[in-house]
């Protein structure tokens, strides 16, 4: 049986019986086995699971970065599955933002230019009020003219967050956003992500393997062996850790 969680009409992203199979024959790997999940608008959801559980694959499929073998994925009103390159590009421009573990800023551009890059790619002007809000929230006003190399890791990741927020996407996907940061910088970034959800109604889906990071989320979805096996609402680091420990013995989780 597949776990079906969070049935709500207000879904920002939705996976419906998603299968993902890599390779064929003996080299076949099933990364996702019929995952169905909804991610509500205006909430901060973490996806957790041990290595190889398929959590990153699920996120890539949700974001339209990877195709699904079976099932459908949609973001807002848009069905992602079956979109061509043009459709996917439009989707990434209008509805999706990304935050990466490696920050992925362009080294040649200043912080400000990096933040505005998605808008300039799409040929749009930033909304000045929202831009100011974002800059102030991430606290980078005095660093805007610096290049990434002149910024600390935490500052770089805040630039990346600002970049994701500034185009007000339907949903932001964050891939281990604190994986490369020390715990203080990590806490700053996570706090900032949670605030953007609470204060500005942003939807965020974050993949992580760090229980402390997951505790910042409103809800945690657990994956193991390509299936959703559990979820926690209003998690704490302890409850997350407990759940993670039980994942080794899936039978207990099933209850």
């Amino acid at each position: 049986m597949t776990a079906t969680v969070g049935q709500q009409a207000q879904a920002a992203a939705r996976a419906n019986d998603v299968w993902k199979v890599y390779g064929s024959g003996e080299a076949q790997v099933i990364a996702l086995r019929g995952v169905s999940a909804e991610f509500e608008r205006g909430r901060f959801t973490a996806i957790m699971g041990p290595s190889g559980s398929g959590k990153s694959t699920l996120m890539h499929c949700l974001a339209g970065l990877d195709s699904v073998t079976r099932g459908t994925v949609s973001i807002g009103e848009t069905t992602v599955t079956g979109l061509g390159d043009g459709g996917l590009t439009k989707l990434r421009r209008d509805k999706v933002g990304f935050i990466f573990q490696q920050f992925n800023l362009l080294p040649t551009l200043t912080a400000k230019e990096n933040i505005l890059l998605p808008l300039s790619i799409a040929g749009r002007k930033p909304d000045p009020a929202w831009y100011d809000t974002v800059i102030d929230t991430v606290g980078l006003r005095d660093r805007l003219d610096h290049r990434p190399a002149q910024l600390s890791g935490g500052q770089q990741q805040r630039v990346a967050c600002a970049r994701a927020l500034v185009s007000r996407p339907e949903v932001i996907f964050a891939d281990e956003p604190t994986g490369n940061l020390d715990s203080r910088s990590g806490a700053e970034v996570l706090g900032f992500l949670r605030n953007s959800v609470r204060e500005h109604g942003q939807t965020i889906v974050m993949v992580t393997h760090d229980p402390t990071a997951a505790a910042y989320a409103d809800r945690v979805v657990f994956l193991a062996d390509g299936q959703i096996v559990s979820e926690l609402i209003e998690p704490t680091a302890d409850t997350v850790l407990d759940t993670m420990k039980k994942l080794d013995t899936p039978a207990e989780v099933g209850n």
Binding site: S56, H60, L65, D66, D85, G86, T89, R92, R93, D94, G97, F98, F100, Q101, Q102, N104, L106, P107, T108, L109, E113, L117, P118, S120, I121, A122, G123, R163, S167, D175
Partner: protein
């Protein structure tokens, strides 16, 4: 987006400099060619405008045989002296002067050698007095039969002074005749000559006899208009009076026509230079393609990020192409500037070489500018298109994870390569077998181009085994082994880098194979055929072949030990309205015996005064058989009817048409230009040769050589051609070397972390440099190997196709090939220097932390 592209371009400017440099060099070649030919063209214009500035209207007889600039100097037909009087009587004529002006007045310098000309004619003229243009600088005008005046340029070259006796060879006397130099002339504006022309001024009767061969004739009549009469009106009046047998032109027209014929030669020269520029640019294309591919590979993550945050595939292509446009534009500007410099420099050198041609100001013709930008931009953008397309296919997901870039299978590229090579082979076959339907040259060139691209596409496949084999030589040391493995790591990159070198080397090898084979075949044929122990001939320096006194022929024949003498004359004639090279032999029977000619029809042992012989090829193509009558117009005299009395078998050495000795007096050069001497059985070359030398004392343009030396001298002209082609192709090879440097530099950059690691675990600096050097040497030797192989193939194909033209022996220049491979190894070492130093300087700690 635009801004991000430009910023990223600026950040990587060093990486793009080398690929830009390739475009700069190619564009330089293109714009240099245009600037050079334009400057020379305008210089000729001004030279001729100047030279004819004293002439309002010029009257000349229609030339009997029109000759293009590429075939030699036009010889005007003489007009009778009475024409001068008729012109003088035309109303509006202020004065009419009969002018003698013909090529072939050769002065013997103070060193006893004939002063040669590289291009401008050596004119013999009659002295008609000073003018605004021409003045005596020293001495006086020639008054007696044995007095001459020469221009200052000639006096300087010949190192002769007023008062000295000077030997001169003239158009009708290739035997030295002594004159007293009574004056030196120069031109207004303190010029020693106009356009580097050497001039000898005789008294009018002497000029008529020695330069035109007939008394009371002139080359032309120059007319000055009376005040208030326009040149054009006077021209029309004179033309009406004289009738249709004369060419009456204004001075301006004459200047324009003279200049136009030289410019025809220049435009041909320009095309050749552009052809070599095209080769350089083809090589440059490979280099740019490689650079952009590597840059795209290095930016995978960055480009994937762009895609992840919403850039479309088209925007990615746009950004790479935009980069290419920027590089192309900058390179075009630099190339254009460099080309203007090179063009100016070459024009200057040419002016010096041509005996002090006064250069017009350096101009930049529109063609140079348009050509530079078109070529620079198009080449760069075309070369960047493939990498751009590849960049657009980078999945956005690559921004999140190190997408393992699996070795893309080489199947597709191999199939494409085989296909393109096949097309090239078919085109080559069609072109070489003469089935291209009139587009032979274009088909062959297309075939070569396709073959190159096809082989370049196949190179990745070949590179694996070959590179690994080559590298095995170095595998005894750890750095050598690492270098070898590195060069096999990215077969496509190695392949394109090597392919760029291949193009240059292949062309040089191909041309060498063809020319060596031609040389060998002709030598072998000459050795087998020519039964003459001694040959009289001279080295041709300018447009006019050396000639000698025909009296030498009889005197040689009379020498003890000489059995047969065949003196040969040559000229361009019109036969039945078609330009044809004709020769005359002083003794047709000797010619037949010395060359062992075989008759295919009629009698070729004797020749009556109105009979002629033709080679079998010529007879076939012109539809002649024994008994055919043809109309022959020689440079001088009236057209005459000849009857074909015999046909001889064509070989590489036979002339198309042979006329009787009596015809030679109407040739442009009525003296023999070569003679073949067969010795009597038992006579020794060493005995006869000095005696012939003595006979030639008054004909310093020629000398007597034994047969081997003669054959060597004849075929040595091909060596000059080969050297020129090699020099012009050197640029393509230089660009290929830039390509190797570029690939290595980018590879070093890409492997910073890895190099740091190697250094961290104990690889010494020297070993690091050794590793890079091995990689470079392996790539360049591989490229040279490919080039030698492809070039040999192309050359052999051409030689095979030319079998019927007499190139029967395929001669492979093993020595040259060895030199190319050795050179490639050196090139590799040189190319490795900068990247190796860079690799050795890598900061170990920084490199490991490098992201």
């Amino acid at each position: 987006m635009f801004r991000a592209t430009l910023k990223s371009l600026l950040a990587r400017k060093v990486r793009l400099i080398l690929s830009g440099l390739a475009v700069v060099l190619g564009v330089m070649f293109v714009s240099g060619a245009f600037v050079l030919t334009d400057t020379l063209g305008r210089s000729f214009d001004s030279v001729f405008a100047d030279g004819f500035s004293e002439i309002d209207v010029n009257v000349a007889a229609k030339p009997k045989v029109e000759i293009s600039e590429l075939e030699g100097e036009q010889t005007a037909s003489p007009l009778p002296a009475a024409v001068v009087d008729r012109v003088t009587q035309v109303p509006g004529v202020a004065s009419a002067t009969g002018i003698v002006n013909a090529d072939g007045a050769r002065v013997i310098g103070s060193n006893g050698k004939v002063v040669t000309s590289f291009g401008p004619p050596q004119l013999g003229e009659n002295w008609t007095g000073e003018s605004d243009l021409l003045q005596l600088r020293e001495g006086r005008a020639p008054q007696a039969e044995d007095e001459i005046v020469i221009n200052r340029a000639l006096a300087t070259t010949a190192k002769v002074q007023v008062g000295q006796k000077v030997g001169v060879l003239t158009a009708f006397e290739s035997k030295k005749r002594e004159f007293t130099l009574v004056g030196v002339a120069g031109y207004s504006g303190d010029r020693d000559s106009i356009g580097g022309v050497n001039e000898v001024f005789f008294t009018t009767p002497v000029a008529q006899r020695l330069m035109l061969g007939e008394p009371d004739t002139f080359s032309s009549v120059t007319v000055r208009a009376a005040d208030g009469v326009s040149d054009e009106a006077l021209r029309d009046d004179v033309a009406r009076t004289l009738g249709a047998d004369f060419e009456v032109k204004t001075g301006e027209q004459v200047a324009a026509d003279a200049s136009a014929s030289l410019k025809e030669g220049l435009s041909f020269f320009n095309k050749i230079l552009l052809g070599f520029a095209a080769v350089a640019l083809l090589v440059g294309t490979f280099l740019i393609l490689n650079t952009f591919s590597i840059i795209v590979a290095q930016r995978t993550r960055e480009l994937a990020l762009m895609r992840a945050i919403g850039a479309s595939g088209r925007q990615i292509i746009g950004s790479v192409v935009l980069e290419a446009i920027a590089v192309g534009l900058i390179a075009s500007v630099l190339g254009l500037a460099a080309g203007i410099g090179v063009g100016a420099l070459l024009a200057f050198l040419f002016g010096k070489l041509a005996g002090g041609l006064t250069l017009a100001g350096i101009g930049v013709p529109a063609a140079a500018v348009i050509g530079s930008f078109a070529v620079g931009l198009v080449i760069t953008v075309v070369a960047a298109l493939l990498p751009a397309l590849r960049a657009s296919r980078i999945p956005p997901i690559a921004a999140m994870q190190d997408v393992a870039t699996p070795d893309r299978p080489l199947t597709k590229v191999t199939v494409a390569g085989s296909l393109v090579t096949g097309i090239g082979a078919v085109l080559l076959f069609l072109g070489l077998s003469g089935n291209a339907g009139g587009q032979t040259l274009a088909t062959i060139l297309g075939g070569v181009l396709f073959a190159f691209i096809g082989v370049a596409l196949l190179t990745p496949l070949i590179s694996r085994p070959v590179v690994s084999l080559l590298g095995a030589i170095f595998s005894w040391s750890v750095p050598g082994k690492l270098g070898r493995l590195n060069s096999g790591r990215n077969p496509r990159r190695t392949a394109i880098t090597a392919a760029a070198l291949m193009v240059g080397i292949a062309l040089v090898t191909g041309v060498t194979v063809i020319l060596d084979s031609a040389k060998g075949s002709i030598s072998a044929l000459a050795q087998d055929t020519i039964k003459a122990e001694l040959v009289i001939s001279g080295q041709q320096g300018g447009p006019r072949p050396p000639s000698f006194d025909p009296g030498v022929l009889d005197r040689t024949k009379a020498l003890p030990g000489v059995q047969l003498v065949d003196g040969e004359y040559g000229d361009m004639a019109r036969i039945d309205g078609e330009s044809t090279w004709v020769t005359a032999s002083s003794d047709i029977a000797s010619l037949r015996q010395i060359f062992g000619a075989k008759a295919t029809a009629g009698d070729i042992d004797r020749l009556g005064p109105t009979q002629m012989l033709a080679s079998s090829d010529t007879a076939t193509s012109r539809g002649w058989s024994v008994g055919s009558t043809v109309n022959v117009q020689l440079t001088r005299g009236e057209a005459r009817t000849y009857t074909v009395s015999g046909i001889y078998e064509s070989t590489q050495l036979t002339n198309p048409v042979t006329l009787p000795a009596t015809a030679a007096k109407d040739f442009a050069i009525p003296q023999p230009i070569q003679a073949f001497i067969q010795l009597a059985p038992g006579a020794r070359v060493a005995d006869v040769q000095p005696q012939v030398e003595t006979l030639l004392a008054d004909s310093p343009e020629v000398s007597v050589a034994d047969r081997d030396a003669f054959i060597k001298q004849q075929t040595s002209q091909l060596d000059g051609l080969l050297t020129m082609i090699q020099i012009l192709l050197a640029l393509a090879i230089v660009i290929a070397v830039l390509g190797i440097i570029n690939t290595l530099a980018l590879s070093v950059l890409e492997r910073t972390r890895e190099l740091g690691l190697l250094r961290a675990i104990g690889l010494r600096r020297g070993q690091t440099m050794g590793m890079i050097t091995v990689e470079a040497v392996v790539i360049s030797v591989f490229g040279a190997l490919l080039g030698v192989a492809v070039g040999t193939g192309l050359g052999a194909a051409v030689v095979e196709a030319l079998k019927d033209e007499g190139i029967t022996d395929l001669i492979l220049p093993w020595g040259q090939m060895g030199v190319f491979l050795g050179l490639a190894a050196v090139i590799g070492v040189v190319a490795a220097v900068l990247p190796a130093v860079r690799a050795a300087r890598i900061n170990v700690l920084g490199a490991i932390a490098h992201d």
